[in-house]
Amino acid sequence: MQSKSPSLLQGTLDLIVLQLLRAEPTNGYDLAQRIQTLSRDVLTINAGSLYPALYRLEARDLIRSHWEESKTGRRVKVYSVTAAGKKQLMEQRDGWAKFAGALATILKVT
């Protein structure tokens, strides 16, 4: 659960979602699993945060969705990044890199 893991910084969930969806379009459940696996169980995103974030990004036209059948034969909603989403991702990534670099420097020199 999220309470056990470090809380996400404001705005970073959008960045993570956009980054992972750019790598591969997928559905909400798989996305949550992938975040958990890739972060080695450090980040656990619950459905209460994930789905509103997906809907918000969709409402802002940064991602789009379509329905398709999964391997198990179940109908699932698959999300992918739009052109606007890719542009937004670039900007956020640059911003994040600068922020992380600055933070690392501060932690190192003090």
């Binding site: 659960m1 559905n27 909400g28 459940y29 798989d30 619950n46 459905a47 209460g48 789905y51 509103p52 974030a53 809907y55 918000r56 409402a59 802002r60 036209d61 198990t72 179940r74 109908r75 699932v76 909603k77 606007a84």
Partner: protein, 903 residues
């Protein structure tokens, strides 16, 4: 994303809400199923796996809710929900909803009708004139009263020469003309002619009901005369028996010259400046000399009769154009100015009347309903606007107070429902928003209803018919809606906040805290309302009683059956230079069978008696006003006003040094109780405003008013008449006058064919018309009185309903400890009645003052005023009692066991 794109998304989210919800549920279900499969794969039982998946997932409902919110259209769907709730609530309480709508219709409607008049006067052009910023009036100004002046042909041409400023200039001059429509049995008629430069209709872009514009097109084309005319739709309609469109191509005669009608304008178009006469005919300026015989208009720079408007070149603003206009105006000789006063053609000739500091200018103003007060002169309207705004706000205050009370009552009745909604997790803001939405809907409905109702009323008033456009347009509708929403917030917010404040536990325990201070405030409002309404109702009642009295009896009713008035227009066109038709008409009409006398109708003046020099002992300075009638010697006999003392007038009276005077009997008694004949008075005679001495030679029995006047209630005096020109005749018939009208009409048409008949009626027919009008006024007065009373009653009702609702627990306890139900009802009833009586008591002095004023105006006796006042007071008390009894009765329905059990 752009705003439009986002709005589109919102709209999409709002409209396809159900589909999106369904898809979201399917997606979340799929998520749960996938999680369950994961736990199953770890070896859990089906049940355990499902439970674990649910635990991991969280609360389904709140995820759904935050998902919906994330879609971003929550407020739209929220408003949709509010509207649905509101419509359900209205259907449940139709009576109170209708009451609220009607009350608000009154309050908002009055304000928005006033706004639409103001909008029509100050911000909209006259009907049928385009609202185009490039169209401007060139308004001549002077620095002395009346501050407006007309232009000479020379000045007009100078404006037209400013081609870099104006793309076209229009000039026009109005004049009364006589039109012969050349229809069988239809005599000549007077009309309002506007002589225009050929640029007029093209520049104004006037729409036509039928036909076309003039052939001439150059601004200053003065010859040859183009003998064509364009008439207003109202003019075409006034020729009964002729289909408006069929007038095109017909030849009519204007001042005796044949003219072909080539066009009819759309209804209500009457030029850019209101003229007060919708029977308008437009003629090319080239016909001016032919039709009026005036040869000086275009050559004499001292004749200034033109008004002008212009279309600015594209891209040129009023500010850009002003220097050119000022330059032209500065070259106008001050002697050329004619002040713009209707009916008065005073010219500043450079003589003693011309003010030494006379300064002429000109300015450009947008085409508006009331251009006279545009620009720096707009402040002239300020007092009227201030008075109207105050009245509108007062009415709004009364209405909002009443609605506020009603809403508070409704909210008290709904506190259980509201409490449950709050308990189920609705935020307080959400419930408040719903309550305010409800009242906003009612307010907008009421506002629009009121706007149209008052708009129709304003339309009935003649001012709306020409010159001003007060029909609701986009601006007035937006104003009304905004005004309604403001009102809704004003009267809906506090009951909503109040209703949602109570904690749920208290509601469920049925022990809502009594809001004593609020009830007290409301009581103050109700008292004020009754105190204000009372003088209004009382004075309306007095006026109505007077009207009823007036309708019942006219002192000269029998005589008025035998009198016909015929008036001729002897001034329009070239009629002024024609010989006076009256002597010949008197001769011909007198010879008709059934006619006993024909006399010129008196010319009217006012006699203000200022001193009685020869009355010993009497206070010789008086100030009595009487109607002064200038009459021919035969007149008094013809109208049954015989001389009772002294003598009548004789032809030789004009030779007397001191002018003779005959007094009506009531005036004679008032001035000289000891005998009037031979006495002298010093009096100011209007309209000449001359102070003169006159000698009373006789007294006539004329009563109050006269049999031959349209409106009269003043004492009368008579002086000998000089000259007959004036064109109105009074015809006395032996039998009933009405059947004689066709004969009189055909005789006048035959004998004076070039003089338009402006009025032909019997005095009793006129009375009947007058009575209809009075009845209309009476009904309107009764209506407003009833509304004021109803408002006060609703206020009282609402106040008590709230009190009963809030004091249920107290009522329950009282009944439980042995109070009888009728005692409880009596308690509330008396509270209501006491409030009403307090209001009545406070309003009493105002009523007395109002009654005195109305009574003095209508010359009613103190006795009849007192009767009216007592009747109305009793009505007020009865209505107040009824309004109190209705909610008080509800107190008896409180079940003590229920109330006490829930404690």
């Amino acid at each position: 994303m752009s705003f439009l794109g986002r709005a589109g998304k919102w709209l999409q989210a709002a409209t396809s809400r159900q589909r999106l919800d369904r898809e979201m549920r399917e997606e979340l279900d799929a998520h749960l199923a996938q999680a369950t499969s994961r736990f199953l794969a770890r070896g859990m039982s089906e049940r355990e796996a499902r439970q674990a998946a649910r635990r991991e997932f969280g609360h389904f409902g709140s995820i759904e809710q935050s998902g919906r919110e994330a879609r971003g259209a929550q407020w739209i769907t929220g408003v949709g929900d509010d509207l649905r709730h509101a419509s359900r609530y209205f259907a449940r309480t139709p009576l109170s909803s209708i009451t609220i709508v009607l009350t608000l219709a009154l309050g908002i409607g009055f304000g928005s009708a006033g706004f639409s008049v103001l909008n029509g006067l100050l911000y909209r052009p006259a009907p049928g004139v385009p609202d185009d910023p490039q169209l401007v009036k060139i308004q001549g100004r002077a620095n002395v009263r009346p501050y407006a002046r007309k232009l000479s042909w020379e000045e007009l041409k100078a404006y037209a020469a400013q081609i870099r400023t104006f793309s076209s200039v229009v000039g026009w001059s109005a004049k009364g003309v006589v039109v012969d429509p050349r229809i069988r049995d239809r005599g000549v008629i007077s009309a309002h002619a506007i002589f225009v430069t050929p640029t007029y209709f093209r520049t104004l872009d006037t729409k036509f009901f039928a036909g076309r514009i003039f052939e001439q097109s150059r601004f200053d084309q003065l010859s040859p005369p183009e003998l064509t005319a364009i008439v207003s739709y109202e003019f075409a309609r006034s020729l009964d028996g002729v289909d408006a469109g069929a007038l095109i191509g017909r030849t009519i005669a204007v001042n005796g010259t044949s003219i072909t009608v080539i066009g009819i304008t759309t209804p209500r178009f009457n030029g850019p400046v209101q003229s007060g006469d919708a029977r308008t005919i437009w003629l090319p300026l080239s016909t001016w000399e032919t039709l009026t015989g005036d040869r000086h208009l275009f050559s004499n720079p001292d004749v200034a009769v033109f008004e002008a408007l212009a279309r600015l070149q594209p891209g040129v603003t009023i500010a850009d154009a002003m220097p050119a206009v000022r330059l032209v105006a500065s070259r106008v000789r001050p002697t050329a100015s004619t002040p713009d006063v209707p009916g008065e053609r005073r010219t500043y000739t450079g003589g003693p009347e011309t003010p030494a500091n006379l300064l002429l200018t000109a300015e450009l103003v947008r085409l508006r309903g009331m251009m006279r007060v545009q620009g720096p002169y707009r402040s002239e309207l300020a007092p009227e606007i201030a008075i109207f705004t105050t009245i509108a706000l007062l009415i709004l205050l009364v209405c909002t107070t009443t609605v506020n009370s009603l809403l508070l009552g409704a909210a008290t009745a709904r506190r259980y429902e509201i409490g449950v909604r709050l308990a189920l997790g609705a935020s307080r803001w959400r419930v408040v928003r719903q309550l305010v939405t409800e009242i906003a809907i009612l307010a907008v409905l009421g506002g629009l209803l009121g706007m149209y109702a008052f708009g129709a009323m304003v339309h009935v008033v003649e001012v709306a018919q020409d010159g001003f456009d007060v029909t609701p347009n986009g601006t007035t509708i937006i104003f009304t809606v905004v005004y309604a929403l403001f009102t809704a917030t004003l009267c809906g917010l506090s009951p909503a906040l109040h209703a949602t404040r109570t904690a749920l536990s208290e509601v469920l325990k049925e022990s809502a805290v009594t809001a004593t201070s609020r009830t007290r405030l409301q009581r103050v409002f109700v008292v004020a309302q009754i105190a204000i309404a009372q003088p209004l109702i009382v004075s309306l009642g007095a006026a109505l009683a007077f009207l009823a009295q007036d309708l019942r009896a006219s002192s000269h009713a029998a005589l008025r059956e035998h009198l016909i008035v015929v008036s001729l227009d002897t001034y329009s066109g070239d009629n002024f230079s024609r010989p006076d038709p009256t002597p010949r008409l008197i001769e011909r009409l007198s010879a008709l069978p059934g006619v006993t006398a024909v006399v010129p109708r008196p010319a009217f003046g006012i006699l203000r008696v200022s001193a009685l020099p020869d009355v010993p002992g009497a206070d010789s300075i008086v100030n009595i006003e009487a109607d002064l009638h200038y009459v021919v010697p035969e007149f008094l006999d013809a109208v049954d006003a015989p001389i009772v003392l002294g003598r009548g007038f004789v032809a030789a009276d004009s030779l007397l040094e001191i002018p003779p005077l005959i007094l009506g009997d009531s005036l004679a008694r008032q001035l000289f109780p000891a005998g009037a004949v031979g006495q002298r008075v010093r009096a100011v005679v209007m309209p000449e405003q001359r102070l003169m001495q006159m000698e009373v030679v006789g007294v006539a029995r004329a009563g109050i008013g006269g049999a031959y006047m349209f409106e009269s209630d003043a004492p009368m005096a008579f002086a000998p008449r000089r000259g007959t020109r004036g064109g109105a005749l009074l015809i006395r018939t032996r039998g009933a006058a009405e059947p004689m009208l066709p004969l009189i009409r055909s005789t006048v048409l035959l004998e004076a064919p070039s003089f338009p008949i402006s009025r032909l009626t019997t005095m009793s027919l006129f009375d009947a018309e007058q009575r209809d009008e009075l009845r209309g006024i009476g009904a309107a007065g009764l209506g407003s009185g009833a509304i004021a009373l109803l408002l006060a009653a609703i206020g009282l009702y609402a106040m008590l309903a709230v009190a009963v609702g809030q004091r249920r627990r107290e009522i329950g306890v009282r009944i439980a400890v042995g109070a009888r139900r009728d005692q409880v009802v009596g308690m509330f009833f008396m509270t209501g009645l006491r409030t009403a009586l307090l209001g009545l008591l406070i309003g009493l002095p105002f009523s007395a003052v109002a009654l005195r004023m109305v009574g003095a105006q209508l010359q009613m006796t103190v006795g009849s005023l007192a009767v009216v006042a007592i009747i109305i007071m009793s009505c007020l008390v009865l209505v107040a009692a009824f309004a109190s009894w209705l909610p008080a009765r509800r107190a008896a329905t409180v079940d003590p066991s229920l109330v006490l059990r829930s404690e």
